[in-house]
């Protein structure tokens, strides 16, 4: 029997970490992810976990400690947000290149400046090419579930890559909602033991990690790293199926919501997906064939699957909670649109930069997007695909 509870997203993640009982957690406080190491250090203080908690002096050190702990053979986790993730930047790439399966919960927050503690995706989107897998959760349940699955994918022998478990700051991290937890023993059985093949504390075969690689070898190492990322897609699907068998909760690379017969659809990730579902339901009641695609996995990017899912839709809006500052389209948009390049039939596509710095995303905002899409369908063309939603404009 699953355990019904009410928890905030951060509490849920901390509980998952407690159930996993990782070997090492190294973390530094930053709003809104701070609660995770707070809750977790309580578990440590009360002897509820056997974890070595390292309260480091910066996020750079947090990630550095995680990398070496993982390389030493320890199951390792941390959490951060925004500027903390930015300070880790250098180490993110190294975590991936060393193939250390560190699990990092990113509580998404706008990246300075100006300094802002509220939600958008500029932090994790900026790190999208660092070689990490990225999971995005809609609510506390997904933050919890994704963490368990992310760990299993990260540690899969064919993958061995670090993973970000992302969800929206405050909106998900601090809101208390209903949740179904999995029993401790089932979590333990699901995630299993961490058994790396090569690690520093292996007395039978000590190893050296993090070499200088000259042009002779660097490229091959990166190519191999890229292959693990490619393979991760299948592993995510496999692990998600296993998770469904355990919990009944179905996960895939993305969630299709009333997409099959949709004429207009929104591609979105994070908590806004929930609000969008609500709007889709209302539009459907009015006879509008609206649908939604909620991205769960952004790295590896499920290009073919997304293309297949939306190629026959007339108009699609891609929602980016982060600007790309290339003046032509933000990260999710450019990738989704490029996924459709080889298809003869493809939707008209528009990009909405929205919700920056915690600008609240109301049902009215999402409704406007669908209305715009209906307009695009009616007009048969897209004037300006690069749009901002919810920003105050000169009238």
């Amino acid at each position: 029997m699953a355990i019904r509870d009410k928890l905030s997203g951060n509490e849920a993640v901390a509980v998952a970490m407690k159930q996993i009982n990782p070997d090492v957690v190294a973390a530094f406080p930053i709003t809104p992810s701070t609660e995770i190491p707070q809750y977790f250090s309580n578990f440590v203080s009360n002897g509820e976990v056997e974890t070595e908690f390292v309260p480091v002096e910066s996020e750079h050190s947090a990630m550095s400690a995680c990398i070496s702990a993982a390389a030493a053979g320890a199951r390792t986790m941390t959490a951060t947000s925004a500027n903390g993730l930015a300070l880790m930047w250098e180490m993110l790439y190294i975590a991936a290149s060393c193939k250390t399966p560190v699990v990092l919960t990113v509580v998404n927050r706008a990246l300075s400046g100006p300094i802002n503690i509220h939600n958008d995706h500029s932090d994790s989107m900026g790190s999208r090419d660092s070689g990490w897998l990225q999971f995005y959760g809609e609510n506390n349940q997904e933050a919890y579930d994704n963490l368990l699955m992310a760990l299993k994918v990260a540690e899969h022998p064919e993958i061995s890559l670090p993973v970000m478990n992302c969800y929206d700051g405050f909106i998900t991290s601090h809101a208390v909602e209903n949740i179904e937890l999995i029993e401790d023993d089932k979590v333990k059985a699901f995630v299993g033991e961490y058994k790396p093949s090569q690690y520093m504390l292996n007395s039978d075969n000590q190893v050296a990690v993090g070499p200088l690689s000259m042009p002779t070898h660097y490229f091959e190492q990166k190519r191999q790293q890229a292959e693990s990322m490619r393979k991760a897609k299948d592993v995510i699907i496999e692990v998600s199926k296993e998770f469904e068998a355990l919990t009944g909760r179905k996960y895939d690379l993305f969630e299709s919501y009333k997409l099959d017969d949709a004429e207009v659809a929104v591609v979105v990730l994070g908590s806004t997906a929930g609000t969008t579902k609500h709007v889709v339901d209302q539009l459907r009641d009015k006879g509008v064939k609206a649908g939604m695609l909620k991205l769960r996995i952004f790295r590896p990017f499920p290009a073919e699957e997304i293309a297949e899912a939306i190629k026959d839709i007339k108009a699609v809006a891609v929602m980016d909670k982060c600007d790309g500052f290339n003046a032509k389209g933000a990260p999710v948009f450019t990738e989704v649109r490029s996924a459709l390049y080889d298809y003869d039939t493809k939707p008209a596509m528009v990009n909405y930069i929205y919700g920056l710095g915690g600008r609240d995303v109301k049902t009215d905002d999402i409704e406007k997007v669908y209305n715009d899409l209906l307009e695009v369908v009616k007009e048969g063309k897209v004037e300006d695909p690069y749009r901002y939603l919810g920003v105050m404009e000169e009238q």
């Binding site: 290149s97 060393c98 193939k99 250390t100 061995s160 090569q198 075969n205 000590q206 190893v207 050296a208 990690v209 993090g210 070499p211 690689s213 002779t216 070898h217 490229f219 091959e220 190492q221 190519r223 191999q224 790293q225 292959e227």
Partner: protein, 102 residues
């Protein structure tokens, strides 16, 4: 020399075969990389003059003073780069530097 000691990849190793994450499992395998060719000057050890004081042993940056059973046995020319520190510290002039190839 066991397999563990050997170099694990070469310049033509395909990406499929390179070591995951650039890990090197054969610790100490740098001994297979020979730096003797760097030498311009060569230390010549005179066993007669050597009093086995061992002062040359710890100063060598290339771990090239060969000692067995607490006795100086010679110099590892595979790795010695010819810096001359051993000769400089020898109180008995038992090591002298001479140009390579003399």
């Amino acid at each position: 020399m066991s397999n563990k000691d050997k170099c694990i990849v070469d310049a033509y190793t395909p990406w499929q075969k390179t070591t995951p994450g650039g890990i090197v499992t054969s610790t100490g395998n740098a001994k297979h990389y020979l730096t003797g060719g760097w030498r311009a000057d060569k230390p010549i050890w005179n066993e007669e003059k050597c009093k086995q004081c061992m002062l040359c042993f710890p100063v060598c940056p290339d771990s090239s003073i060969e000692v067995e059973d607490k006795k100086m046995k010679g110099i590892d020319f595979d790795h010695c780069k010819g810096c001359g520190v051993c000769a400089a510290v020898c109180p008995f002039n038992a090591i002298e530097m001479e140009p390579e190839g003399k």
